[in-house]
Symmetry: C2
Subunit: 173 residues, 2 copies
């Protein structure tokens, strides 16, 4: 996993002081509700049950954990978002991207816990993802957006159907 180490070390200088958070990093100025702190991580050792709980909270259909684990392992980038209160940590956001490690990346599974929505945290999470992908020299960052989040992504610099390019999904006959 040398790649991830280098991605991480090249990314952010605001690492936390606690050794247990070696792969976590906070973003300056990003503090919510009093007494809590938000931080991001590219560590893919995520408790799958905790992730499932997060996805349940936004109403996503459940997926086999075995496949979720495989998808995380084979994603190019995983960024998770955590709330820390004292010694307690809670997974409050998640996103991952597939990539050819050279030209293209596609972002999937962007989720922010409903209790933490409307605070700019989804935007902060996506900015982390974009920053990481750009630091790896990925020039084409893509995603497929549900209608109700098109404007959210537009505000982050994503353009729908640029030059008439259409996102298409295959359906079995």
């Amino acid at each position: 996993m040398g790649f991830w180490k280098s991605l991480f070390s090249a990314s952010d200088t605001t690492t936390t002081a606690k050794p247990a958070q070696a792969e976590g990093y906070s973003t300056p100025g990003l503090t919510t509700i009093s007494g809590s702190r938000i931080f991001f991580s590219t560590d893919r050792e995520i408790d799958l049950y905790e992730l499932e709980e997060l996805c349940d909270a936004v109403g996503w259909s459940r997926r086999p954990l075995r496949k979720v684990k495989k998808a995380i392992q084979h994603s190019f980038l995983v960024v998770s978002m955590w709330e820390q209160r004292g010694a307690q940590r809670r997974l409050i956001g998640f996103s991952r991207a597939t990539s050819d490690h050279a030209f293209n990346a596609t972002i999937w599974d962007v989720v922010v816990h409903p209790e933490f929505q409307g605070k700019g945290l989804g935007k902060a999470l996506m900015k982390q993802v974009i920053k990481k992908l750009r630091s790896e020299d990925i020039s084409n960052i893509t995603l497929f957006a549900d209608p109700h989040v098109v404007d959210f992504y537009r505000n982050l610099g994503f353009m729908p159907d640029p030059e008439g390019i259409k996102g298409m999904f295959w359906y079995p006959d």
Copy 2:
């Protein structure tokens, strides 16, 4: 590369007789111009100069071969299409897909040499790609189509903007 071996061996029984084509396979009924035979391969040991020549032929901008090599290495699937005339082989088509190996795949760089277009070979190439991805239990096969090829992909079962889902590309500020 055990994965590729298993993908290949699970895929097609119409392998060619020549040992040198261990990873090539022909498609029944797919023969063009007299004396030539078309076959497909998932082998990613492709001559990068030959691939560049193919991409030049359709007018694509040149890309650093180092990055093309990396992209091929980190693609989930590579399908190339070849014309064989006697002992001579010529690369006439190419496609690749990124994936999380579990849920999603995205198809990139679909190209058919202009001399071989209009013969159903692009369709045959895409059918190979879809078949391989399906055989790996990938449920969500996606792509981004330029406006002039939207109908080509639609005829293959791809739907643009299903349920309003928008393909989006990030542009730097």
